[in-house]
């Protein structure tokens, strides 16, 4: 059966991303100019992101309900599209510096983005699985993209082994859910017997599979190693894109399947508390900036899971009230993606060839050498810490609000404690940049040049962080639409 035109419209962003990825691979033998591929990927990422508006205009279920184009998927398409676009901008100079092939990198990046897009709009579990695999397999390769670096290969290997294990859980979960409900369509599961043990077990396995993707404790052990070893622009992608997509799927499952919302409150409560503490306490002792940011991204997954606990709690009580909790997740993911992209881009650029300068010592006295870069990195760190006037502040505020709204005061207090622990290590970086005298070799470092593409990334993330920190209204109004999911 040939798909209807409207079905095509609803997956147009994915098609464009994939199309440009294939194009990049096909042209690779013929085009010598490496920067052509940057341009190609740039256009592809942008076109796909723009096409998501087209998909949104033709909202509704596509391919007999396999995917769902709605405000929710629009938001996430914009998010992962913007992430891809910014990573393309940041990656060009990096690939140049590290003498890595361009075309494959961008192709994989676009494939991964398409996979994330599928995850965000999937309404059916096997479709979601395909999206997950698309983004994961591309990610495994991207993590090992610096073939001659041991760390990068180790990172890819670890990510691949643990990732496949988690994917197996996810798949097995789908099988069990199908066994108990007789369908893999999320919207049809509403009619299922909610007390079925098989269904609960299946959902638990899905949760584990996705928990791995979002780096929730105790499924987080891969994160620091993979983040550290992967090329830094790829790390930026990992921390922003796949995480957002996996959270999107998780949110869609737990919003659509009533059985999923009723029994998972405590699971999310414990996951959230554990993830926050593991992430923050782990970050306290890091001296490598990439590892520090990796642990911080675990901690932030924990904060987002707090909002999930609120979502599941609200779903039991009064599902109409759950909207602000969804909004909290979405807004947080947006603010978080902006900040992490900016921070990793700076880290990537300051790392120098071969990514040598990643230790905190190398950042000593940065404010004297490169005041603007230091100021930007400080802003990102303050946003991660959740201080006004940054987007992270509102993100944290909305999560707190969702938690307190759901009477999860103790979880909110745990989150507050974690924010203070977090403050210590974010401040430590700022302290090193502004208040420590550089060591002899750090002082000898020449100021690192920031090419146009990288500066553009910093400008966009910087302005976005402040803009959403001062005036979050447009985003909030959009994600608080009553028909966020499903229409």
């Amino acid at each position: 059966m040939f798909p209807r035109t409207i079905d095509i419209y609803r997956v147009l962003p994915e098609l464009i991303w994939c199309g440009f990825g294939v194009l990049a691979m096909l042209l690779q033998p013929f085009v010598r100019n490496r920067h052509f591929f940057t341009f190609l990927a740039f256009v592809g990422a942008l076109a796909g992101t723009a096409a998501s508006y087209f998909a949104f205009r033709h909202a509704g279920p596509g391919f007999s309900g396999l995917v769902q184009s709605d405000s929710f998927s629009f938001f996430f398409h914009l998010l992962v599209g913007a992430v891809a676009f910014l990573v393309v901008l940041a990656a060009g100079p990096y690939l140049d510096r590290e003498r890595l092939p361009f075309a494959e990198f961008y192709a994989l990046l676009l494939f991964a983005t398409a996979g994330m897009g599928v995850l965000a709009s999937a309404q059916e579990l096997l479709t979601a699985f395909i999206g997950l695999e698309m983004s994961s397999i591309s990610s495994y390769i991207l993590a090992g993209y610096r073939r001659d670096s041991l760390k990068s290969s180790e990172s890819a290997m670890k990510y691949f082994l643990l990732g496949s294990f988690a994917t197996a859980f996810f798949l097995y979960g789908i099988a069990l859910v199908y066994g108990s409900t007789g369908t893999t369509m999320l919207d049809k599961m509403a009619a299922a017997d909610m007390s079925s043990t098989l269904l609960k077990l299946g959902l638990a396995m899905i949760l584990i599979g996705l928990g791995f993707k979002v780096a929730a404790a105790p499924f987080q052990v891969w994160t620091p190693d993979v983040y550290e070893g992967a090329p830094t622009p790829v790390t930026a992608l990992f921390s922003a894109g796949p995480k957002a997509a996996a959270f999107a799927l998780l949110l869609r499952i737990f919003a659509t399947v009533p059985a999923a919302t009723h029994f998972w409150f405590w699971a999310f409560w414990v996951l959230a508390a554990l993830t926050m503490f593991v992430g923050n306490l782990g970050a306290l002792v890091q001296t490598n900036i990439k590892r520090l940011l990796a642990y911080s991204s675990i901690a932030h997954a924990g904060y987002i899971l707090v909002a999930f606990a609120a979502v599941t709690f609200m779903a039991q009580e009064n599902s109409a009230e759950a909207a602000p909790a969804y909004a909290a997740v979405l807004f947080y993911l947006l603010s978080y993606a902006l900040v992490k992209l900016g921070a990793f881009t700076i880290v990537s650029q300051l790392g120098g060839s071969g990514e040598k300068n990643l230790s905190l010592h190398d950042y000593a006295g940065l404010s004297e050498r490169q005041p603007v870069v230091a100021a930007a990195l400080s802003l990102y760190l303050l946003s991660l810490l959740g201080l006004p006037v940054t987007a992270g502040f509102f993100g944290k505020f909305y999560i707190f609000k969702a938690a307190v709204n759901s009477h999860l005061v103790w979880l909110a207090v745990l989150m507050a404690i974690n924010s203070v622990i977090g403050a210590y290590y974010y401040l430590r970086v700022i302290v090193v940049m502004y208040m420590r005298e550089p060591s002899a070799e750090a002082a000898a470092l020449a100021p690192v040049r920031f090419p146009v593409g990288v500066s553009a990334v910093l400008l966009i993330t910087f302005v976005g962080t402040i803009l959403f920190g001062v005036y979050p209204n447009p985003v909030i109004n959009f994600i608080l639409r009553p028909n966020l999911l499903g229409h």
Binding site: A327, F400, A416, A423, Y424, V431, Y434, I476
Partner: protein, 530 residues
């Protein structure tokens, strides 16, 4: 001319504009940067004086209000307003900022531009906190001022500056993030972040909190404020922060930032959670009294002059907290007055200590001695300031302490008796340290040739001394304007107890002429001041 309707916004954001202007400048033209900083901060002070005639005497409620919708969901508004209490605290802030700029004229030599930018951002945060009438906005400014202060300590401070800066931030954040949870919780019960609206809901009984909830909320707010004050035993960040901060940082920290805590108690803890305040009052008072005596005793044995002044702050702020939690209008007024007086005189003490440091680069008292011979003028200023700080009548410290003790005595004579010990002790440590630093033989040869106060220093100290003296003599100028606001707080915290019952016998107030100009005025006899 200034649009009168937006005076408060101008006050908040003018320093930010100044900071932006400074950022545009080249970093190496120090003279020019200092000049602009001075002009901006002085202009800000003049702007703030414009508030004075617009806050009528004896009228409760907020003035010069500004209201604009900001965030739709949840409804957060940009709501500003000023009353008798915040009026003078803003004036104190805008007064101490140019003083701080002058004080850092020569002592800040590297990263000059960034220094003044941070100072101005700090001013933005502090003025914003005092003028916000929306809980969310309040919290936002509360957090905004954190980072500039940490930078002031951490970049331009002394040896252990990084430790002190981080400690300062972590302590403050620990309290404030819980306050955020409290603010959101309160929003859940009221549906608004707007302070006047919540107060109205409390007054007409549309919002009733369960006792346990009220207590938890009270504690969430109180902890944040108590850390800031700082109340014993949460004070340990203060000596570190003070000793390590540059002079201007210490002046702003002691002069203004500590008051944010006590201001928060007056503005939020008491009016919003009256029952919980009553239940907690006894324990708070005990902590305040411990703070008064403990701070004074520790100050007495300090070998470090700056630490001595820092601990004297712990002691003095104990009086403020005691005055607030005695729930008496006189003591509340005393508390407000003490906040202002402490801001001026302790600020001046830090300036003086900073001047000594500029000359000898040490805070150790044992390094000094007999300084009045080489520097008689500085010695005279120091004595004057020390006397005002220990509460000599005619100077500003006396008014605050006396009113606090008077008001507290009417309610709980035991509290007042214990607190009075602190007055004696403050005389001990200040005079004793003065004696060791300025009197006696010169023990260090280096000290023999120290230069006396320069013209710039004389100007700074002279201005502060005039204000000190004026506050000591002309105190009614201030108390008349704060009276209505403090009485409102008292009414909110004790709606069941009419004020007359607490009026001391024989304290029939004498009505001043200017009570006539207020239509909806709080009767001045209820204000309990003359």
């Amino acid at each position: 001319m200034l649009p009168g309707g937006h005076l408060l916004s101008v006050l908040i954001f003018f320093p930010a504009v100044g900071a932006l202007a400074l950022l545009m400048l080249r970093g190496d033209d120090h003279k020019y940067i200092r000049l602009i900083a001075m002009v901006v901060s002085a202009a800000e002070f003049l702007f703030s004086l414009l508030m004075l005639p617009r806050v009528p005497i004896g009228t409760a409620g907020y003035h010069l209000e500004e209201f604009a919708k900001w965030i739709n969901q949840p409804p957060i508004n940009y709501h500003l307003g000023v009353d008798g209490i915040s009026l003078f605290l803003v004036l104190l802030t805008t007064f101490l900022t140019p003083i701080s700029v002058l004080a850092s004229w020569n002592s800040i030599a590297h990263r000059v531009k960034e220094f003044f930018v941070m100072l101005f951002m700090l001013e933005v945060g502090v003025v914003g906190v005092f003028l916000s009438l929306d809980l969310f906005l309040f919290f936002l400014f509360w957090e905004v001022m954190l980072i500039p202060m940490a930078f002031l300590i951490g970049i331009w401070g002394h040896e252990r500056r990084v430790y002190a800066a981080v400690k300062f931030v972590l302590y403050t954040m620990a309290g404030s993030i819980l306050m955020l949870v409290g603010i959101i919780w309160l929003y859940n019960s009221t549906g608004t972040f707007d302070l006047p609206t919540i107060q109205q809901m409390l007054a007409n009984g549309t919002m009733v909190l369960a006792p346990r909830t009220e207590m938890l909320l009270f504690l969430a707010f109180f902890l944040a404020f108590a850390i800031k004050v700082p109340l014993f035993p949460l004070h340990t960040w203060l000596p570190d922060a003070h000793v390590e901060a540059p002079t201007a940082g210490s002046v702003m920290l002691a002069g203004v930032l500590l008051k944010l805590g006590t201001y928060g108690m007056i503005r939020f803890c008491l009016p919003l959670f009256p029952e919980a305040s009553h239940r907690a009052a006894r324990w708070v008072a005990v902590l305040a009294i411990i703070g008064i005596i403990y701070g004074a005793l520790v100050a007495m044995v300090q070998p470090n002059l700056k630490k001595l002044v820092a601990y004297s702050s712990v002691s003095h702020l104990g009086f403020v907290v005691l005055g607030i939690f005695a729930f008496h209008n006189i003591s509340m007024q005393g508390a407000v007055y003490q906040m202002l007086a402490h801001g001026v005189s302790t600020g001046a003490l830090f300036l003086l200590v900073g001047m000594l440091y500029d000359r000898r680069h040490t805070f150790e008292i044992s390094e000094y001695g007999g300084l009045s011979t080489p520097m008689p003028k500085l010695a005279a200023f120091f004595l004057f300031t020390a006397l005002s700080s220990l509460g000599l009548p005619m100077l500003n410290g006396f008014v605050g302490e006396f009113l606090v003790l008077l008001g507290t005595y009417q309610r709980h004579w035991q509290w007042a008796s214990w607190a009075a010990v602190g007055v004696i002790l403050s005389a001990c440590y200040l005079l004793w340290s003065y004696q060791r630093v300025f009197f006696g033989e010169i023990t260090r040869e280096k000290n023999r040739t120290l230069p006396d106060a320069t013209a710039r220093e004389k100007w700074i100290l002279g201005v502060v001394a005039v204000v000190t003296l004026w506050m000591g003599i002309g105190s009614p100028f201030i108390t008349r304007r704060t009276a209505a606001a403090t009485q409102t707080v008292i009414d909110q915290v004790e709606p069941q107890r009419p004020y007359e019952a607490a009026t001391p016998p024989g304290a029939a107030p004498e009505v001043k002429g200017d009570s006539a100009n207020t239509a909806k005025a709080v009767p001045i006899e209820r204000l309990g001041i003359r």
